[in-house]
Symmetry: C2
Subunit: 338 residues, 2 copies
């Protein structure tokens, strides 16, 4: 056993409504020793996504809740410091589900979103954003569920977030006209500037349904939803016949203490016959390599850009999570801890 | 012009919530004379469907509202009494969108669900039920949207209604195990008896979500929804991964004075990645002949049965409509007026 201390952030309590820093508690453990087939990783970056809010609750969902007292689950990146796996050696840079801690044991190849080696030229920031969970989620949700066609009009909510920004750009690469919905002038400027969206709607300053009607008078062919609630309703008010509505998330409802509010106009999918579909990244595990390769190519080509918001310091890890729900992040939320 | 009087039921007012007979008023007009290409039909049977409630309102929907003072719109059957169309002659039996009146002008071939000639051996009851709007709706919704596979478990709400009973039987013909949800012991007995459903749930006496869990522990592969509200929620609690949820109607919400209540657990289509889809019969107009032919064959084979509830008399026409919303009909609701 290693004499060094493994600092951790544990789940202390389940949030009733808005998650707060007091739902987490500091813990310490001995730095563990890898068993056969395992590696020990010194975590350098913690990555955040809205779905982690669901992992804190025992509500119905798609993953088991994190136990009280357990290390907070998250994706991250780091360096291998000890290895009992033939494919990994100390110094290798890796990403994986390492959690909120300095050191993580991992068993490469054993599980979904298992350890990935970062190839030369791929930074931790790239690996955790456009090539990470959120980038893959954008890729499969937009391409396999949304299936944008040249000439389609596509709208994305949470468009300045890590998933939405990639999803919208993928639709644009496929020849669609893309409208991003985001909160604030800065995010909207980034969308229509650097990210190449055709239009952006600032939901804090504009009426989303009316603006969608102005920007897409023929209706939306694809809507990629990360937000739920009133923004999903506004989109459903503006769908075209035969549209595909991708339910990726519902961040507006994650901290309400109840299930996300359902769209009161769900019958719009009958009035304008359309499909509303959910998906989970895990369904596409056998295509992750394809997706990473394609996304990496688009990044290298300059056709796909991304933003990261990097906070600093282990003490900042829980506070940084809250930035997602305050809409403070532009692009992928990360925290560098070493 | 004909000297005889054309009795009519007009839309007198738009219902705020529950439709009542006072939303209709008797009217009279001269019996009209067909123009070139038209036929004059003596209506003998009025057919009802829940969607007609939507046609009375100016809420968002898929058809234009019936104007105040206009003849109530509905499908019906009758005999041609005058024809200026080369394909029709007096005495021909026909179905079409004839409305609540003794005599209707119609222009065969000119519009959706236009006039159909009843072939020998096809009764008005058959033409208006299993071969009519509701039978076609069941056919395309179940086969094209639901796509039941052999071994699938399929549930249908409003299962003892004209659409649900046909939809469920089509799934059974395709090799699925079929659960019907209906109100009352009589309807449930008909479903598992005459209609050959594998199981029935009486939503008035049983807890639907719990019974679905018992009857479909592996989850529902297809859910065909005519009801909405709590029954849709109960089904969403019990879907399998990859399920298809067909939104056909939401009769539970048509008389509430508001939009039908959305399913609070709509995110179930993410947790168990699934598709929720609406459809409209009009999308399939070029395949109506195929559908009528297949449905007629199944009826002739004895593989597909149907029920009709026939009320009598022109004065009864509005009262009979209300039976749909009180759950009084088993199978297709009709009223014979001549």
């Amino acid at each position: 056993m290693n004499a060094e201390i493994n600092r951790q952030w544990l789940l202390a309590s389940r949030p009733e409504s808005m998650v707060g820093v007091d739902n987490f508690a500091r813990g310490e453990a001995a730095v563990p020793t890898p068993a056969d087939g395992q590696i020990l990783v010194r975590v350098t970056h913690v990555a955040y996504e809205p779905a982690m809010r669901g992992w804190m609750s025992e509500r119905p969902g798609y993953t088991t809740a994190i136990p009280i007292g357990g290390v907070m689950r998250s994706q991250g990146a780091g360096r291998v410091v000890d290895s009992r796996h033939p494919g990994f050696k100390p110094g290798d840079r890796v990403s994986g589900m390492f959690g909120w801690q300095d050191y993580a044991l991992a068993a490469p190849g054993g599980e979904l979103l298992s350890v990935q080696k970062l190839t030369d030229g791929v930074t931790e920031e790239t690996a955790l954003s456009v090539l990470g969970i959120t980038g893959l989620t954008a890729y499969f949700g937009m391409l396999d569920v949304g299936r944008p066609q040249p000439g389609d009009t596509v709208a994305v909510s949470g468009a300045a977030g890590a998933t939405g920004s990639v999803a919208g750009q993928i639709a644009r690469i496929k020849g669609a006209r893309v409208i991003g919905i985001a909160g604030g002038a800065e995010k909207c400027a980034w969308l229509t500037g650097e990210a190449g969206f055709d239009a952006a709607i600032d939901y804090k300053a504009e009426r989303v349904s009316r603006r969608l009607r102005e920007l897409a008078p023929e209706g939306l062919n694809v809507f990629y939803d990360n937000v739920g609630g009133e923004i999903l309703e506004a989109a459903l008010n503006n769908i075209a016949v035969g549209s595909r509505i991708i339910i990726c998330g519902a961040i507006s409802g994650y901290n309400t203490g109840a299930l996300p509010a359902p769209p009161r106009n769900y019958m719009a999918i009958v009035w304008k016959p359309s499909i509303m579909a959910g998906f989970l990244l895990g369904q596409y595990a056998d295509r992750f390599d394809e997706a990473r390769s394609q996304l990496g190519e688009w990044v290298a080509d300059g056709r796909l850009t991304y933003a990261v918001d990097v906070q600093e310091g282990f003490e900042t890890v829980p506070h940084t999570f809250l930035r997602l729900f305050r809409g403070q992040n532009l692009g992928k939320q990360l925290c560098r801890i070493a």
